[in-house]
Structures are given as C-alpha cells and as structure tokens.
C-alpha cells in the first residue's frame, strides 16, 4: 500500500544518527499496552527504538544507565490537535501559518509545508513531555480546513513524519457558517465535494469542472473521499454527531473521527457501535455555543464507560500554537471527573497515535516502538509534575527553551 510504504520510508529517514543505547532502570513504567503499568520496570533503548521493556533487564555493553528511582516512565505525549510549529506569535500581525482565510486553497492546504520545527514553541512544548503532534491550520473560509500532518517535536529538519494524515472538515455550527449560514447546506455541500473529488480528474479535464470544488482541492480530497484517509470532523452537538454516524453507516468505506464532540455523551452507545473515535476537551462544560449547550465535565468518563475511543485535546476554537503542553492538565481533569487514570494517559499518547494511523509505532512502551520516552518527577497528569528527561527517537532532548533561558536570566536566586 502506497501510504504504508511512504510511512515506513518517513520513519526510516527519521532514524537518528546520534541515538545511543540507554537503559532506564527501576521506573514506574506506563507501557500503554498489555503489560499495563510495570512497577520497578526497565526500558532499553537501542538505535532509536524500544528494544526491551520489563524487569531486571541487563545493560548491554556501552549502554548508558539512567536510574529512574521509581519515577514515572511513560511514552511521550501526543498532542492530538495543535497549531504547533505554524506560528511564532499568533496575533500582533505577525506571520501566522495557522490562519487561512483565502478560498484559493482549502482542502489542498498542506500543513506539512507550513510546519517549522525551529519555532520556540516546539522546545517549550517538548520539555513538558510532548513528543509528537497532529497539526492543522484553522481555516476561516471553507468547510474544508486542509490536510493535517503528524510531526515530531525533536526540532530536526525532517520533523514531519506523515503528511496527508487527515482532512479537517467542519460539519457543525462553523460548517454551516462556511456554506451560507445553515446546516441545511452543509451535507449537500459535503457530499457534492466528495463526488467532485472521486471524479477527479475526469470531470475537470472534460471542462465540466467541479460542482463545489476547484481542481486542486478535488485532487487533494480524492484519497479521503475514497476511504484512504481520515476525515477529522469538527462537530459538537448530539444532532450533528448523529448525522455523521448515519452518514458513516451509509458510506462504510469512509473513515471519520470527531473533534469537539461536547455533547457526545448523549450518543455514546451509537458512537461506540460505529467505532468512531472522538477527540474531546475535558474542560468543555459551558453552554458557550448553542451546539454545546449540554457540555459537561464527565463527557470523557461517560464516553469511555460506553466503549468509545477517546483522545484528549483542546476544543475546536481553542486549539493554538503555544499551549499543546496543557494536554496533560486536560487529561488530569478528566481523571478528576471520573475517567480512569490509564485511559486518561492513553488519551494523550496511545489513542492519538492510533486515531492517526501510527499506533503501531508510537504511543506505547513496547518492543520495536519508536523510543519516545519521558521520565517524570511525579504523576505526569498532575499540574505540579514535570519531566526530568525526554527522549525522542531514542535521543535525549535538552530541557532548554527560550522560556528557560529567560527564567535563568531573571531568576532571583542566581546571585545567591
């Protein structure tokens, strides 16, 4: 399969030259897999990958040994939705690749072409234990937000490890606004766009053109319209979510995940049956929009109990370029409101990787997984905790950012 081979190649490219052999010893190892949490566990990293996880692993010759002394050792966090790397400053008229308000390019917008691994937010976010992110800009003109990318936070030039990873689609209140103001127009517009995409390039070469899409958007949308990619849908209300479930049932080859989903708790069983994952914000509990009047803090717990696959990220409209690190706080708040800890941690690490199709490589501490590993000074879902070491692809990252440099310059203890 073409996408798979592209993926394998991307990972091959990303294999770091400087990866060392590291044995992390005696940690509280959160595997995110069948082994669960291993107390007094070891993690062996060789050539950028996890080589072994378990108890009493012998250090290979030349291995560097890191004593965890009982600390949490986890997979790196995966920001399930972010604008990270798309701007240095969001406002102030600064260049901002996260904002798109032209209709020249919509579905074809390619996040991977805009990602900049050197923006300061990458290091700021990385030293909080986030090692991967799904990124997409926010469009203000079309119901299609463009193609998302998956990135590493290693700061290397080849940080994009998958482009065309998902297609953002607005199918709620925002979607209605993009097609003239009414939901009555949303689904006809969406279905027409899918037809245009499936019939690319013939209808464009024939001169007929698209019903709703220009040629470049039709080309970009085509794999998604043929079921070869994930539609990441913004929708909040129970009614909108039901429409998506119905549509998916009628078009089983298409793949959907729903971002937002504040009212998903009302349709939890249907979502579970349809196997549609959701990306939710555990802080979303205000009737701030009419499409999320029934938002509540235990949305995550209720969905999990019903068997829905959940990931955790800020809600649509609050996704930004600077605070992807708060995913851990969001997950902690889900725990405070009834979500089991293991599910909450998975929702910011393993589940995003699975939703975006890289769950075989990322999100677990298991043999042959990419060695994104974080050692913490406390419970990673506690706001008071922070990493003491962050590995990406087996390479230990400096815990330094522009913010820590400012901190050190102005630290009142520096001259004591």
């Amino acid at each position: 399969m073409r996408m798979l081979s592209a993926l394998v190649m991307a990972f091959a490219i990303a294999t770091p030259a400087l990866a060392e052999t590291v044995l992390i010893r005696d940690g509280r190892v959160v595997t995110n897999g069948a082994a669960g949490i291993i107390e007094n566990g070891d993690v062996l990293i060789v050539d950028g990958r996890i080589s072994a996880v378990g108890a009493n692993i012998a250090a290979p010759r030349g291995a560097r040994v890191v004593e965890a002394r009982g600390a949490f050792v986890t997979p790196g966090a995966f920001a399930a939705m972010s604008e990270l790397g798309l701007s240095e400053i969001s406002g102030s008229g600064a260049p901002n690749d996260a904002d798109m308000d032209s209709d020249l390019v919509a579905a074809a917008a390619d996040s991977s072409a805009a990602f900049n691994p050197t923006v300061t937010a990458v290091a700021v976010t990385r030293l909080e234990g986030v090692t991967r992110a799904a990124i997409a800009p926010s469009s203000t003109s079309s119901m299609f937000g463009g193609r998302g990318a998956l990135v590493s936070l290693g700061g290397e030039p080849d940080s994009v490890f998958r482009s065309n990873a998902f297609m953002i689609v607005e199918l709620g209140e925002t979607g209605a606004n993009r097609v003239g103001g009414s939901r009555a127009a949303v689904w006809p517009a969406f279905e027409a766009a899918l037809r245009d995409a499936r019939e690319y390039p013939s209808r464009y070469r024939s001169g007929q053109g698209g019903a709703v899409l220009n040629e470049i958007d039709a080309q970009a949308l085509q794999p998604f319209a043929r079921g070869q990619g994930l539609f990441l849908v913004h929708a909040e209300s129970a009614a909108d979510i039901r429409r998506i479930i119905r549509y998916q049932r009628a078009n089983p080859s298409l793949r959907f995940a729903i971002h937002g989903a504040a009212e998903a708790w009302q349709v939890a069983d249907e979502l579970a049956a349809a196997r549609i994952p959701v990306i939710i914000d555990p802080l979303s509990n205000l009737p701030d929009r009419f499409e999320r009047l029934s938002a509540r803090l235990d949305n995550a717990a209720l969905l999990h109990a019903a068997g829905v696959t959940i990931a955790i990220a800020p809600a649509p409209g609050t996704v930004d370029a600077h605070q992807a690190r708060l995913a851990l706080q969001l997950a902690g708040n889900a725990v405070a409101n009834g979500l089991p800890w293991n599910a909450a941690f998975a929702a910011i690490s393993r589940t995003p990787a699975e939703i975006f199709g890289v769950g075989g490589q990322l999100g677990r501490l298991e043999r042959n997984y990419l060695a994104d590993v974080v050692i913490w000074d406390g419970d990673p879902l506690q706001v008071t905790s922070a990493p003491t070491a962050v590995f990406i692809d087996g390479v230990e990252q400096p815990l330094v950012s522009r913010q820590t440099r400012l901190r050190d310059r102005y630290n009142p203890t520096r001259n004591r």
Partner: protein, 460 residues
C-alpha cells in the same frame, strides 16, 4: 510607598464621589444615595464547624488536623478541638482541605456570558479610546451559567472588568456569585470599591490605529492617557473648590467623574499591561498625576521588574503559563508568579477566562511547582495567598475576606484533597457562612437560561 494624591484633590472621606459631583449645590447636603447600590444579602446560614481538616489560612499558614468554625456569617475560630455551638452543622474534614474562597481579580463573566453570540458580547465599548464613563456592571447578565461553574471551582468573589480595547475601558465591579440573583445589584459585594480598567499596549493601538484615529502607537497611548489625566485633575480641582464654597461645581461629566474617583482614591485602578517597559511608563504617569495603581493585569513581564513593583506596592494579576498569543506576551515564563512572590511583591493568580476561573487552584499549583523547581521554596499555603488574600488586597476588600482570620466573612471552600493538584475538587463552598454549593447535590440549574433545557430536564 509614595504619597497617594495631591492635596487639592483629596475629598472628604466617606462621601461618595457621585454625591459630590452630581447634585445641584443646594442639594449637596441631603443627597447621599449612591446609584446602583448593592442589595446583596447573605443567604441564610447555620453555625458550621468543619472538623479535622488540613487548613490553609490564606495568610500563608497551614494547619494539620484543624477545625474551622463559622458563625453568623463570619469566621469565628480556626484551631484544634473547637466546641460546636448548639445547632451547629458538623462537617467531617478528615482527608479534606479547607481554604478561603478563591477571589478572581480579573473576570468577564456576565459581560461576556455563555452563550457567546454577538448580542451577548457586552464587555468592550470600543467606540472611543476613553470610555471611563461606562460601568461593567451595567453589562453583567446575572443568568450567565458561568457563575455556577466558577462557584464549583471554589470562587466566592470575582471582579468583573470591561475589556481592553480602550485606553480607559470603564468601571469594574466586585461581585458575589449569587446564583439565584436576578439583578446585578443583588450580586454587588457590599462596600467594595469600584475600579477603573485601563489598558496598555497593543489592543487600544490596534483598535484605534486601525481606524486612523489616535492612539495608533505606544506613544499615542501615553499621550492620550496624560491628556485625559490632566483633564481629570482640572475637573477634580473644580469639584473640590465647589465643596469649599468657591464657585459652582462643573457640569457633570461621567467620564471625568470616574477618573476623579481614581485621583481621590475612591476608585481603584486596574491596569491591563503586559510588558515591563510599559508598566514602568504607567508608573511614571501615576506619579505625574498623583494616583495609585492597584494592580497590573496580565503583567506577563512582571518578573523583570519585581523589585520596582514591590517598592511601588503594586500587585500583579497573572496567568501561570499563557504566552505567545501576541508579541507583548512573548516573554511569558512559567516562573512569573513565583518570581514576583519571591521579590516580596504582591502576586495574584487571575483567570481572564470563563474556563480558567473554574480551576485557579491548579494555576497556582503550576506556578508554585515551577518556582520551586527554579530553586525557590514556596509552600502550598503561601501559594494560596495568590488566590485569596492578595486579590482581596488589590480589590480593596482585604478587611472583609481573603483569609480565615476571625471576624472576616466566612468565605470557605472544602476540597476533596490537596487543592494544589489536578485531582482535587471543591466539595462544599460557603459564602458568608452559607452553603452555596455542594458537589453532587441534585438541584435545578440556578440560571434561568439553563432551566428547562432538554439536557437539564433529562439529567433529573
């Protein structure tokens, strides 16, 4: 500390500004009613004894296995083995933490309520750079469902400010989250001074520069501030002369009335300002015209001038970790709050957010932990001063609330565990000794907006 005001603008203490300024000379002696006065009444309460909890007193003290007694709406005692008065409600504090209620010095609840639509966006009168005449309380919608969520996060007092689009945004108001209130007057904290919201920096320059009107720049901001304060000084001087029988009072001017209130100390200045250099300029202006700045809000760079802020006695109301959303927030660091605290200046954790206000305890926890990782030694009880005592000071209500000192209003939260944590939740919230929130209690939504909605009906 510098002198507060020029002598010629000092007005008689206790006489409300509005009364001085509004009435014909012949009525001055009889007109004392203040418009829009508070009609707040504490909810009924019984004596309540919380036994055997970990207590943060709001002054920086932590007491293990301590009791807190509330009587007649006030803190009666904090100590060991307190006797329960007859008829007292006894609350088991084992494993629980008790703190003063959280005070948010910067909120827009009610003026930017939920649901957020054009018609409810009532917080920013962006029609001219000086709208000192508007009062945020006149935009507050008491039915905002955000008030209930804030109380569930341990909020017992909050200061509602106008937005920051203008140099002078208008008057702010200190409210009690009275969930059953139909009028904003029922929510007004009795006796709390109003504030004037000012704004530095990008926002006003963007709004008015974008219209090709002044101010368009940082220097334009300062010029308009200074001219406005000069006008306010003249107005205040004429008021004072009239008070002394030297001529007629000036025609009433609501904009200058607010600013004269700042000059005479009746109205406290809350100044939105991110950058250290702009805060220093603001301090210069306060010296030039003789007024006090209660707090800089957002104050993302306070850590760069923490000593100056201590010397000036100016509080900083800050986020724990917001940064980068505009260039004036670019130098935000996670240690801003603890570095300001360490310098001996007044540090406040504020929200400016209908989401953040629900868990300011977590923001304090982050700031404490980051400060300690940077080498400081801040206890959790000290961190709590950022949430209650210090904001009370900035709002001018420190004699009434903010600590568990006997005699203060009994604004108290019982937490399920250590509140400097992601996992603790507020189980019980008391305001003036009355239980206003109990987690898990089955009751109708207090907001009329939420009553009868499909989801709230179903939930019952």
């Amino acid at each position: 500390m510098r002198l507060r005001a020029h002598p010629f603008i000092a007005l008689a203490a206790g006489l409300g500004l509005a009364a001085c300024a509004t009435t014909p000379a012949s009525d001055t002696q009889t007109q004392t009613a203040t418009p829009f006065a508070s009609t707040y009444r504490p909810a009924p309460s019984v004596p309540t004894l919380i036994r055997g909890a970990t207590v943060f007193d709001g002054e920086g003290g932590e007491f293990a296995n301590a009791d807190v007694l509330m009587q007649d709406g006030r803190i009666s005692a904090v100590g060991a083995n307190l006797a329960a008065p007859e008829g007292a409600a006894i609350i088991d504090g084992a494993g629980r933490f008790v703190t003063p209620g959280i005070i948010d010095a910067h909120s827009h609840l009610g003026v930017y309520p939920s649901p957020s639509i054009n018609a409810t966006s009532d917080g920013n009168e962006m029609t001219q750079p000086n709208t000192a005449e508007v009062w945020a309380e006149h935009s507050v919608w008491p039915q905002d469902p955000g008030f209930l969520r804030a109380v569930a996060g341990g909020i017992t007092t909050l200061h509602i400010l106008p937005g920051s689009g203008n140099l002078f945004g208008g008057r702010g108001v200190t409210l009690r989250p009275v969930l059953e209130a139909v009028t904003v007057q029922e929510m007004k904290f009795p006796g709390a001074p109003q504030s004037l919201k000012m704004a530095c920096g990008e926002n006003p320059a963007r709004v008015y520069g974008g219209r090709n009107t002044s101010p368009a720049t940082g220097m334009g901001n300062v010029a308009v501030y200074r001219q406005a304060w000069a006008n306010a000084q003249r107005y205040a001087r004429r008021l004072e002369r009239a008070e002394n029988g030297e001529g007629d009072p000036p025609d009433r001017d609501l904009e200058l009335e607010t600013m004269a209130g700042v000059l005479n100390g009746d109205i406290r200045l809350q100044w939105h300002c991110y950058r250290a250099d702009e805060m220093a300029n603001a301090i210069e202006i306060s010296h030039e015209f003789g007024f006090e700045i209660a707090a800089f809000h957002h104050a993302v760079e306070s850590y760069k001038i923490a000593d100056l802020l201590r010397e000036e006695g100016i509080c900083s109301a800050m986020w724990a970790d917001w940064w980068g959303f505009k260039i004036e927030a670019y130098d935000g660091i996670r240690e801003n709050i603890p570095f300001v605290h360490e310098a001996g200046a007044c540090a406040i954790v504020h929200s400016d957010s209908e989401v953040g206000i629900q868990r300011l305890n977590q923001e304090a926890a982050k700031a404490m932990a980051d400060g300690n990782r940077a080498g400081l030694d801040i206890t959790r009880a000290e961190a709590w001063t950022w949430l209650s005592r210090n904001p009370a000071r900035a709002l001018g209500i420190e004699e009434e609330t903010g600590t568990l000192t006997p005699g203060r209003r009994a604004d108290v939260v019982v937490w399920s565990g250590d509140p400097l944590s992601s996992y603790a939740v507020a189980e019980r919230v008391y305001m003036d000794g009355a239980l206003i929130y109990e987690r898990g209690a089955d009751r109708d939504p207090p907001s009329d907006f939420e009553l009868g909605q499909t989801y709230t009906e179903r939930a019952q």
